[in-house]
Point group: C2
Chain length 244, copies 2
DNA sequence: CTCAAAATTTGACCATCGTCAATTAACCCG
DNA sequence: CGGGTTAATTGACGATGGTCAAATTTTGAG
């Protein structure tokens, strides 16, 4: 039998700290118990596939811990890493709403826990609690904004700019600040995946990384990155157009 | 007093042919009347701004006729044309859901009619008819898919490829087929806007267009485009990887 | 620990793209 | 219709990015 809930043993979702921060927060205590009883929590190994593009949607996933890569192909072998999902994020709501097959794949980047909520349960809860629907609307609207911002950056920035932006974004999630103000992190992605996130070849990314090191903006060693002066990176993508 | 409804005089929204095809189709006759009484229909001239990024959202817009450009800036003067909206499309729902200011601008490309529905009315209807919320969810989910596809294309295709794709998409909306199978259309956009849609400079677009003409794939004259063999254009973006 | 496979880096080379500048064409207001 | 402004094209050139190939490093299975 699958473990239930997100946190301490018997409490189920009620004890899940994530509940405060995602759409399920509007559920009553009883509704939360329904959710608890009907979800399947599962641990994924690094690299394991959670679901794949093209297969039917049976429900949604909620990231509990770890990080998940959202990949989408163009039908010709080329696959792009669209975004990363983190604890509190909900995946695969599109199938729930449109009843279509999955349009992208989800893969655990490292060891990750996800909760699966079947369609029937979600629909039941959506019917019982209209606020839940509103929460989903907000979630999607926010995702939409993010996608639009992404589109604008892609149209505006050079590959180097896009990568710098990506680095800063990853740093926000994965970085730690040292006592001297410099920041460092362990990259959750291979170079190939980093390259696919900015729509460039991995060879190109290698060179971009090389140039960033030459320019003294960052130091790369395997998956470890040190950014000495985060400010300098910011300047890269926010050029001194007007006085800032 | 603003005109009401979308079609023949007294019928209001009930007579609006668009209603069949957008989210409002789930409203009852009485709810539709409420909608009719509370919307403001307005004609916009070519180039006229419907709303601008940064200003507060007071409601949503429904495109009745014409075409609308959705523009989004990156905060540094660079503005990108994200997409075009056509009759039946709903604009600006994000503000309704998140209560935030507009994140993009909307501008009439040619003479266009739009209906404005105030927040309070939309919320009233959303409360009365829960199916309406579901419709909005579907709408946004579909928009989301489109945005993701856009992201994948941007990461995958060259500028030429992106432009060919754009041409074919515009052809679907604006094109007519001649007796010999060739297609032609009047472009709804300036070269600059076309360029910004594919994230390229207008000089680059000029050269892409030049090369497409050299290659005999299309003929451009002002805003008129002739595509002799639509198949050849398709081949551009769907290379003969495997046997098709 | 060892070895093979996969990932990453590097080089060479060419195509594409952006920038600056100059020209030409199209458009709008009066 | 004219004049001025904006849009579009073209050229030159440097910068960036993609492709192919080879070398090097890292990773993972056994």
């Amino acid at each position: 039998m699958a473990e239930q809930g997100g946190g301490m043993s018997g409490l189920g979702c009620l004890g899940c700290s994530l509940r405060q921060r995602n759409e399920w927060c509007v559920l009553s205590e009883e509704e939360t118990r329904i959710l608890s009883r009907n979800l399947k929590k599962r641990q994924y190994r690094a690299g394991e596939t959670i679901f794949s593009a093209g297969e039917p949607s049976h429900g949604i996933y909620c990231v509990v811990s770890g990080a998940v890569a959202i990949r989408k192909g163009d039908g010709e072998g080329n696959a792009v890493l669209l975004r990363l999902a983190y604890p509190g994020d909900t995946l695969g709501y599109r199938g729930l709403l449109l009843g279509e097959n999955r349009r992208y794949s989800a893969e655990a980047l490292g060891p990750s826990k996800l909760c699966f909520v079947d369609q029937t349960v979600t629909r039941l809860l959506l019917d019982r609690n209209s606020a839940l629907g509103r929460q989903f609307l907000r979630r999607i609207a926010a995702d939409m904004d993010e996608a639009h911002d992404h589109l604008v950056r892609n149209a505006t920035l050079s590959n180097r700019g896009k990568f710098v932006y990506l680095l800063l974004a990853l740093m926000n999630r994965h970085g730690r600040t040292a006592s001297d103000g410099s920041r460092f992190m362990e990259l959750p992605l291979s170079r190939r995946d980093l390259a696919s996130m900015i729509g460039a070849r991995h060879e190109t990314l290698s060179r971009i990384i090389g140039r960033l090191e030459e320019d003294g903006l960052a130091r790369f060693s395997g998956r470890t990155v040190h950014v000495i002066q985060p400010h300098s990176l910011f300047r890269e993508i926010r050029p001194p157009t007007l006085l800032d």
